[in-house]
Structures are given as C-alpha cells and as structure tokens.
C-alpha cells in the first residue's frame, strides 16, 4: 500500500514480501472467479415452489454490505494512523475494523439460518450448493481477516506497540481485508441484485 518505495536491490524493484502478497491476491481472484463462474452457470436452476426473491432479504444484506464497505475505511485509517506513528489511533481503528467484520459475519450466519428455515439448504439443489460454497468461502475469508486483525491489535497492545517494520505486516492484513471487501462488492451485485 503506502510503502511504495523503490527497492533497487530487488530484481523487480518491489519489496519481495509485498510482491508475494499481491501475487497471492491475484491467485485469490482466480479462485473467486471460478466460484462466481460456477454460481452463474447454475443461477436460475429449478427451485420448486419458491422464487429467489422470496428467499433473499435485500434490505438486510444491503446493511451488511454497507458495514463491510465501511470496514475498509476504518482499515485504511488504521494504516494511516500507523504511518503517523499514532499507536492509540492505530489500535482503535484496527479494533473497529475487526468489530465491523464480526458484525458482517454475524449477519451472514443469521442470513444462512433464515435461508435454511425457508427451505433453501446446501443440498436443496445445485444452485443452492453453489450459493453456499461461494458466499461461505467469502465468509471464511472474512473470519480469517478478523482473526488477523485481532492478532495485530493484540500485538499493538504490547509496550513496544506496532512498529514501522511491523507496519508492513499491517499493510499485508490491510491488503487482504480490502480484497475481501472488493470480492463482496462483486458478490453483492452478482448474487443478490442481478
């Protein structure tokens, strides 16, 4: 993210760990791209006695989407605070991001529970399976992100706090978190709105 200094000693001119993180995110694009493609193939498959509009709760999912979107703001503010070496603000924004992520996850669990009660289960048909695999894997990524954020927050609680070198670690978590957000931007449109 912000550590976009030139690294002449590296063959690529980019810090190797950082390049590795971006390559990882690139592979994640392919992973979710495959899942989205599979979902689109089976979208609209037979779902006897029920319309998708009867299952989805768009107002609820919209609020969840907004919460995840705002968590990207708190994440970038945490990163900005660390660059300014403001440990207190960094910890506050990190915790806020983790909390917003946890609220999103709680919403997803509630949504899945409601869907099950409506008869839209993992094994209902091939479409429902592709829906749960796609959104479930995204939820798993959010969960990993929340764990990483809480770990960073705990590290920041130490007397030494988060350092600039550690800031690279925060940078990687931030990149991962924003990636999780952009995946949801696509999923919200493709899965729920179209």
């Amino acid at each position: 993210m912000s550590n976009s200094h030139s690294y002449p000693h590296e063959p690529t001119g980019v810090e190797t760990r950082k390049l590795g993180m971006w390559v990882f995110l690139s592979t994640e694009i392919l992973f979710f791209g495959t899942l989205i493609t599979t979902f689109m193939i089976f979208k609209g498959s037979d779902f006897p006695g029920m319309k998708l509009t009867d299952v989805y709760d768009i107002p609820f999912t919209s609020i969840s989407s907004f919460i995840l979107l705002m968590s990207s703001l708190t994440m970038v503010l945490a990163h900005n605070a660390l660059e300014a070496n403001d440990q207190e603000k960094t910890r506050v924004w990190l915790l806020a991001t983790a909390m917003l992520g946890a609220v999103f996850l709680a919403g997803q669990i509630y949504e899945f529970t409601e869907f099950y009660h409506k008869g839209f289960e993992l094994t209902t048909n091939i479409f429902s399976s592709s829906f749960y695999v796609l959104t479930g894997f995204h939820g798993l990524h959010v969960f990993v992100g929340v764990v990483l954020l809480l770990a960073l927050w705990a590290i920041g609680q130490r007397q030494k706090g988060l350092t600039l070198e550690g800031g690279m670690n925060l940078e990687f978590v931030a990149l991962y978190w924003h990636f999780v957000d952009i995946v949801w931007i696509v999923l919200f449109t493709v899965v729920y709105l179209i």
Binding site: V14, D181, V186, T189
Partner: protein
Amino acid sequence: MSENHLEHPTPKKYVQIAIVLGILTAIEIALYYTEDIVGVFTDPLLIFLAVGKFIIVVGWFMHLRYENKTINRFFVGGMILALILFTIVMVERASANYL
C-alpha cells in the same frame, strides 16, 4: 515516496471516498427496487456501479494507483485471466443451450 510521485490521500479524503462508496451502494439498492421502471438497463447499470466501487477500493484504499507497475501487472493479470475463464464458460454454456 511513490514511483509516480502521487501523494496518498489524507484521512479526510478517505472519509470522502467512503461517502462516495456509500452513495454508489445506495444507488445500487435503489436500482434493484426500481427495476420495473429502469427496465433492461438495470443489470448493465448495476455492473457499471460495481466496477466503479471495485476500482475505487483497489485504486485508493489498496493504493494500487500509487504502486509499482510490476504489482499492477500481477493484479490486472489475475483479473484478465478470471474474466477470460468467465467468458469462455458462459459462451460455452450459451452455445450448449442454443444447440
């Protein structure tokens, strides 16, 4: 600082960007509920808005627009490969349905 000498946004700017993202999301939801009025333009508009939000988050929050070209190439490369996969599968499916 950065390769192309662009300054990173200030916290105030980040908040403004987040407000824009919120407004775009609100427009998306409004489009969903006005599909009967907007008609065939609904889906293209929704895709356009999602792409816009995607670019804003990647460009400003992930700072890709300030990054080294090598990083840009890796990320855009992944996007292009995913889009090629999506297109091939969808074209294949459409032709299978046609036959």
